[in-house]
């Protein structure tokens, strides 16, 4: 099976909320990727989940 199909299969098995959190989470991580000790990242994650799951 193609990698894209496999990933889609994995994504389809998840709830829309989980998919959204993953999408936003990866954006946050990409912003902090060059910091070994990403100060402030946990606040950003909590804020994001608080926003997405009301």
């Amino acid at each position: 099976m193609e990698i894209r199909d496999q990933i889609n299969e994995v994504l389809e098995s998840a709830s829309p909320e989980a998919r959204k959190i993953v999408e936003e989470m990866l954006k946050i991580e990409a912003r902090y990727i060059h910091m070994t000790q990403p100060r402030g990242i946990h606040d950003d994650i909590v804020e994001m989940i608080g926003r997405e799951v009301q």
Binding site: I3, Q6, I7, V10, L11, A14, S15, E17, A18, R19, I21, V22, M25, L26, I28, E29, A30, Y32, I33, H34, P38, I41, H42, I45, V46, I49, G50, E52, V53, Q54
Partner: protein, 686 residues
């Protein structure tokens, strides 16, 4: 990343300013640099890593003395000297110049005081052609070539073979993840549990007793799982180190004439043992499958016998087949006349008599079911007896394989005993050490087995606790919200873990295919390379899948194939992500810079490696000595775009003049320095 040029300023042996311009033509992609031992070959390799990351390789001696000693000696007290390396390269259409420099002031007593320590700057030309200075040069460089990848593209050929050692799996796995941009996913997986804990704290604060209990249990389970995973990783690391030590000891025993024969015998027996182990595993799988699919037959013996007995009993009682069919009775009663002509009108004794028969008559459907049930029971009894036969056969085969394996183990033990009691002390000691190392490795393997089971049980307990938490009813709104956040975040974490696994395994497969392709195009041996599930590089015999006892040559070719495959995957990933989204580009087009490329290889391997090198990457820089380059130039020459000689001036005045002849021209290679100083200069071969 395409290298344009490297400029050195008073950097170690290189006095004054020296420049290397790299070959960039695809058909002539090799830059070949010749230099004598100690002339500055390793310095060149380290000039790249110092400029890019400010680091040096482990074999780079006197790392504090970066300045050129000859220039330093001529410097007046109180003056300053700049040491610098500048690298210009192209990446994704932009031209970058990275420059790192240190400055030293000379004291009155000749001491050096560092006044600037490896400051780095990065400039690049943007799309409009304007030159811009990067505000975060170190981060910027790491975006282009992540630091944890540089060992794979800037390396010493003598050490590259370490990649095939078992302990290299972590480095390899890391490289893959970095190239794929999986580091982002990996970090997300690392950071999410902290957030989950925060929401679980809220749940404990506002939730019901049931929610509090489930959240506390989850917290406890997470801690235990984390601990066990850490223990498992530690054990894997330890086990691979023991594995490498075993391989080294085996190599030593193979190398000694007095132990070679016994070690060869052990190699053969070890290969046989693997074959037998595989056979036992396969037979075990077949037995499992047979029991899984047909095992119920074994429990059905009584049932099948009672069906058969009941059927026979019914036949004996003439109930099967039934003496008269119910449809026939009903037809007679409806007709009102018997076949003998007597009246069957309602109320007559004939009607009453025939109606009584109705109770005894059989249903055709029930009869059919009985017949089919009887036939099915017969079939099942036959299958049951066949199952017994098949199982017996498989169990016997497995027993024979186990006995054969045990016999091999006894022989292995015998070989070990003979080596331990060898008349040559050194051999006996090597074997003693091998036994100890083997025991350590087995301990780790057993520990891993225990940890795997424990982790599986903890995972199951965690799933149960998660379900309990999900189903628990909230009383307070705050608890309900915290509960939903915990569930959604846990789901997101599980999703990230699955994505990570799929991508990692997919890349492992691609890497495996690519290594096979490159290895087959370089090596004249028919061996099959493989990247295992745990990212270990191995080499097998083509048909039997027996591991090959690898020589330095095999190791180097295998490692080079890995580097080539990595470059190829990085490039594919770069092209793929460049099309997908401009903001999240991963992978890259990387050159290969290789010092001591052919080190101690014999001629046949040198030929193979020199033929294979140009295809490993878009641009290859090869740094060799005359002796390392023997038997290489004729194969490399058509692909060499630029060539340099490091001319080394030695302070040793009685040293012989040595030259190197390239393209019908003779170049100074080693010569006594006219003023007794020591320095190196780069001369381009015309």
């Amino acid at each position: 990343m395409k290298l344009h040029h490297l400029r050195l300023e008073n950097f170690r042996q290189y006095r004054g300013e020296q420049e290397l311009v790299f070959a960039t033509d695809k058909s002539q992609n090799i830059t070949l640099i010749w230099g004598a031992n100690g002339s500055g070959k390793t310095t060149l390799l380290n000039a790249f890593t110092w400029a890019l990351y400010g680091t040096f390789s482990q074999d780079f001696e006197n790392q504090d003395t970066l300045y050129n000693l000859d220039a330093w000696n001529k410097l007046a007290s109180g003056d300053r000297m700049t040491v610098g390396v500048e690298l210009e390269f192209e990446n994704a259409g932009q031209i970058f110049t990275v420059r790192r420099e240190s400055r030293f002031a000379k004291g009155v007593d000749g001491d050096a005081a560092c006044v600037l320590d490896g400051e780095v700057s990065l400039t690049f030309r943007d799309e409009t052609g304007r030159s811009q200075k990067s505000g975060n040069p170190s981060d910027h460089i790491k975006q282009i070539l992540p630091e944890r990848l540089h060992n794979f593209f800037f390396f010493n050929g003598e050490r590259i073979e370490n990649l095939v050692k078992a302990k290299a799996y972590e480095e390899i796995e890391d490289a893959i993840k970095t190239i794929l941009g999986l580091a982002v996913v990996e970090r997300a997986i690392k950071h999410l549990p902290t957030t989950i804990k925060k929401f679980e704290d809220e749940l404990r604060k506002h939730g019901t007793d049931e929610q509090r209990e489930a959240a506390t249990e989850l917290l406890d389970l997470d801690t235990k799982i984390e601990q066990r995973q850490q223990e498992l990783a530690d054990s894997r690391r330890a086990e691979t180190q023991w594995q490498d030590e075993l391989a080294e000891l085996d190599q030593k025993l193979r190398g000694s004439e007095q132990s070679r024969e016994l070690q060869r015998r052990r190699d053969e027996l070890a290969a046989d043992e693997i074959k037998r182990e595989n056979e036992i595993e396969q037979l075990g799988r077949r037995i499992d499958r047979l029991i899984r699919e047909n095992g119920f037959l074994a429990a059905g013996a009584d049932l099948f016998a009672s069906i058969r007995d009941l059927f026979v009993e019914k036949r004996e009682r003439k109930e099967l087949p039934a003496p008269v069919k119910i449809d026939f009775i009903e037809d007679l009663l409806e007709d009102g006349t018997c076949i003998c002509g007597a009246s069957l009108a309602e109320g007559t004794s004939g009607h009453q008599h025939i109606a009584e028969w109705k109770q005894r008559a059989g249903l055709a459907e029930v009869e059919e079911r009985w017949i089919s049930l009887h036939s099915y029971a017969g079939h099942m009894e036959k299958s049951r007896s066949e199952l017994g036969g098949q199982l017996d056969e498989l169990l016997n085969d497995r027993l024979a394989a186990v006995q054969a394996r045990d016999f091999i183990r006894e022989q292995l033990s015998e070989v070990s005993t003979q080596l331990q009691s060898h008349s040559i002390d050194e051999i006996a000691k090597l074997e003693d050490a091998r036994v100890k190392v083997g025991n350590h490795r087995n301990d780790e393997l057993r520990r891993q087995g225990r940890l795997d089971t424990e982790l599986a049980n903890l995972g199951e307990a965690k799933r149960r606790a998660e379900t309990r938490l999900e189903k628990a009813q909230s009383v307070e709104a705050k608890a309900a919200l915290a509960q939903r956040r915990v569930t959604a975040t846990r789901d997101a974490l599980a999703l990230l873990e699955k994505i990570f696994e799929v991508r990692t395994q997919h890349t492992r497969t691609s890497l495996d295919d690519e290594i096979k392709r490159i290895y087959n195009s370089i090596s004249y041996k028919p061996y099959v390379p493989e990247v295992s599930e745990t990212f270990q590089l191995d080499l097998f015999q083509p048909d039997s899948r027996e591991p090959v006892a690898k020589s330095t040559g095999e190791n180097q070719i295998l490692s080079l194939s890995f580097v080539g495959a990595l470059a190829s995957i990085a490039r594919a990933r770069f092209e793929e992500t460049s099309k997908e989204s401009a903001g999240n580009v991963r992978g890259g087009i990387y050159p290969i810079v290789m010092d001591a490329a052919f080190c101690s290889l014999d001629l046949s391997y040198r030929r193979d490696v020199s033929i294979g090198l140009p295809q490993l990457a878009e641009q290859v820089v090869v740094i060799v000595s005359k002796s390392q380059g023997e038997g290489v130039l004729e194969h490399l020459a058509p692909r060499v775009g630029r060539s340099y000689v490091i001319s080394y001036a030695t302070p040793k005045q009685d040293a012989a003049h040595e030259t190197i002849k390239l393209a019908d021209e003779t170049y100074p290679y080693v010569h006594p320095s006219p003023d007794g100083s020591e320095y190196a200069e780069l001369t381009e071969v015309s």
